[in-house]
Symmetry: C2
Subunit: 321 residues, 2 copies
């Protein structure tokens, strides 16, 4: 059977260019460029919780890195390095090769070097730490939203949750809608270019991983403001528009999670710059609400008539009931 060191050498060791030292020593060594600081984030994906047993290994390698890079995007950081800690029940060479392919394909696309990690036997668990760089004054923190700011969303939310609802047989999507939603669930693309472009423009930002309302709640709480969302203005994919179950559609839009879009706030004065960068990047950016002074931490969703809507579900919580 392959040894731990064989596995690391065969599947997870690639030459590094930017780092001073990569895989193969007690630590990796690297430094930010002058004027920049490091932005670091860690996410752990557990079989049976974040992905199903038997999930496609290449897509899993992609997603495990993508959800981490999404945190760098939300900080306006440029991706640089990653470490991978991997527990697997057995040293399945084919699984490892596919997983590594998915991971390195995405890493290469965003200039990320794998600089270290750990491989052990155990219930399947993937823990990645990503490291990016950003000039500290330009970092897109959660605590900078101000009353009067506008709330923006990239792309749209709800598609990953729709795919999950289909997998769990709560709805039945058509072939085209299913393919679209499954890609959103299994191979999300982190909004790195958008995060970089929002430096100096957004007053706060977060990536939508737990659900739109819950994640905007984090901005509201950290910034000491309230956020108002206009439900009718929330962008919807074709698949979501076609969903006949209005309650499910609402849940997916507002609380679905796994979207990996960026929600951010910006002053109304910045509106033209936001629209220009959307055009430049070929992205859809939608104004979905505004920031108010009252009720720090609150997120209210308003219907087309201006009344507060009762929301059926909060965001995703790993220890919730």
């Amino acid at each position: 059977m392959a040894s731990e060191f064989d596995i690391i050498r065969r599947h997870f060791t690639r030459p590094v260019k930017r780092a001073l030292l990569g895989v193969g020593d007690d630590c990796a060594l690297f430094a930010p460029d002058p004027g920049e600081v490091l932005a670091v984030s860690t996410d752990m994906l557990v079989e049976g919780r974040h992905f199903l047993a038997g999930a496609d290994a290449a897509r899993l390698g992609h997603k495990a890195l993508a959800v981490n890079l999404s945190d760098l995007a939300a900080m306006g950081a440029a991706p640089r390095y990653a470490t991978l800690a991997l527990a697997i029940p057995d040293a399945d060479e084919s699984w490892l090769a596919q997983f590594a392919r998915g991971l390195f394909d995405l890493a290469q696309a965003f200039g990320v070097e794998l600089v270290g990690g750990d491989t052990t036997r155990g219930p399947r668990n993937i823990c990645i730490t990503v490291i990016g760089t950003v000039p500290p004054a330009l970092a897109l923190r959660r605590d900078g939203a101000k009353a009067g700011d506008e709330v923006w969303l990239s792309g749209c939310t709800g598609d990953a949750a729709l795919a999950l609802a289909h997998r769990e047989r709560r709805i039945r999507l058509g072939d085209a809608a299913l393919a679209h939603c499954l890609a959103r669930l299994d191979t999300p693309v982190p909004c790195i270019a958008l995060g970089l472009a929002l430096r100096g423009i957004a007053s706060s930002a977060i990536d939508v991983s737990d659900g739109l309302v819950a994640d905007l709640g984090h901005i509201a709480a950290r910034s000491g403001v309230a956020v108002g969302l206009r439900y009718a203005q929330l962008p919807r994919s074709r698949a979501l528009k076609a969903c006949a179950d209005e309650r499910l559609a609402q849940q997916c839009l507002l609380a679905g999670g796994d979207d990996y879009e960026l929600a951010f706030t910006a002053s109304p004065d910045a509106r033209a710059r936001v629209e220009a960068l959307a055009a430049g990047l070929g992205l859809t950016l939608t104004r979905i609400g505004s920031v108010g002074a009252g009720g720090p931490g609150a997120v209210c969703v308003y219907d087309a008539g201006g009344s507060i809507m009762h929301i059926a579900s909060g965001g995703f919580d790993h220890f919730g009931s």
Copy 2:
């Protein structure tokens, strides 16, 4: 039931002083001091593999951080930050409080700030990434050993493996020996001060986690040299000296693992400086062998008569049979 965010707030959020931004945003932000680079290492501990179900939570919090800090010690890096990703089967408040106490007590002792992480439900798994700083030219890499260097070891090896042998009923230790060996297994103390003191003195270093011979093999392979160990000169604890099973004693000494001592190489010219720093730090440092030019990657163990010994077992390998 406590939510994921409650758990993080209650148990894993402490104010940071050195970092620009700690727990609670998409990323943590920090930078090395001028002239220093970051040293980063990741270790994953899995229940049933690295610790038993029902293991004391405070000791587990200590050990999970200690084994990571040991990698920083082996690099000559000063510990600065850590992230924690934690999968637990349920949100047991008492377990979490104890685990956090063990982790933060050690973190505080070494000036480490917890700056981020992830908490999720799943089979118990602890993944910590530590970040230290070191001037790049002074980092204690594995690839700097030169023919003619002497091989040194801090403390002694084998006690943690003896404790494990006792737990697995392969031997029966007396009370005092058991207490000593269990402390070495469950609450190892990383050799941070030694790593810092060896900057500019050691030509290479590694922490002994997989077993003395296996870990010196990593230095030999990376440095393109051979290492010769003199078995009779290996330091032994009182507990190991009292072990009547000579074969087990040899396995524990040479291949036991979980020792978290530092093995390092240094020029004979540096011998007086090594001995002076040992005295200054109140540590035992023992010359256990030498570096030769032949057979790159090889580690040979010599008996008192100068003959090569046949070694019963290699180092610990998570995918070995």
